[in-house]
Symmetry: C2
Subunit: 110 residues, 2 copies
Amino acid sequence: MDDVAVRRLAALAQGTRVKIFKALMRAGPDGLAAGVLAERLEVAPNTLSAHLSVLSEADLVSARREGRMRIYAVELEAVSQLLSFLVDDCCQGNPEVCAPIAARSAMSGC
Amino acid sequence: MDDVAVRRLAALAQGTRVKIFKALMRAGPDGLAAGVLAERLEVAPNTLSAHLSVLSEADLVSARREGRMRIYAVELEAVSQLLSFLVDDCCQGNPEVCAPIAARSAMSGC
DNA sequence: CCGTCATTTCAATGAGTAGTGAAATAAATT
DNA sequence: AATTTATTTCACTACTCATTGAAATGACGG
């Protein structure tokens, strides 16, 4: 559990990858083709592929084939698990301490 | 904005640091002394200090002095910002897509 | 089947980072 | 002031990781 979270955080802890992640978050379940991402983010295809592989091994994104392109999409379930991991058991079980902060974060814009 | 988030993710993307972070999350605003953390997590004091410094520069934790010990506590506001960053603008502005997932995550256990 | 498009794999290089022992700082106690 | 306690800073080593060019794989159209 703990290990998975670190792997996911590491996958996101990089400038290019976090941009990829956010682009895929915006795209939602439909996802985006690797080539589209490469062009949109101005990243070399091979570099992008390496980053997608990291995100993929962390299960933060999944890939499917469509014709000759490969479509990547965010794994919302994994994102949800990651957010939960970061905040669960917080404030010694006193919700009122951080409830006001929790209120305006966490997928509220989603 | 983007840069801050990556810095914070990088700070959390490490086994020892994520344990420190979770311990401090559990402790809440009261925080924990560096020494207590070192003993509880079985980390050498100098190693711990380096990790706390990383978390601190990412503004995920703050430090205060109390007697001769230094007390570290989580910065809930920063945590909140980080969670928001990860999920905002998601699913092309179609809340219904990820709302069910959002429901059971994000400071819900808090 | 042959060429082309989309993407990945490989090998190599340079940059950043975790951990350690030893020394330094800082505050309280005697 | 000297000593002990709590923590940080320093210098160093080993390791991991991002990026790049070149070659390889896989799928489609002629």
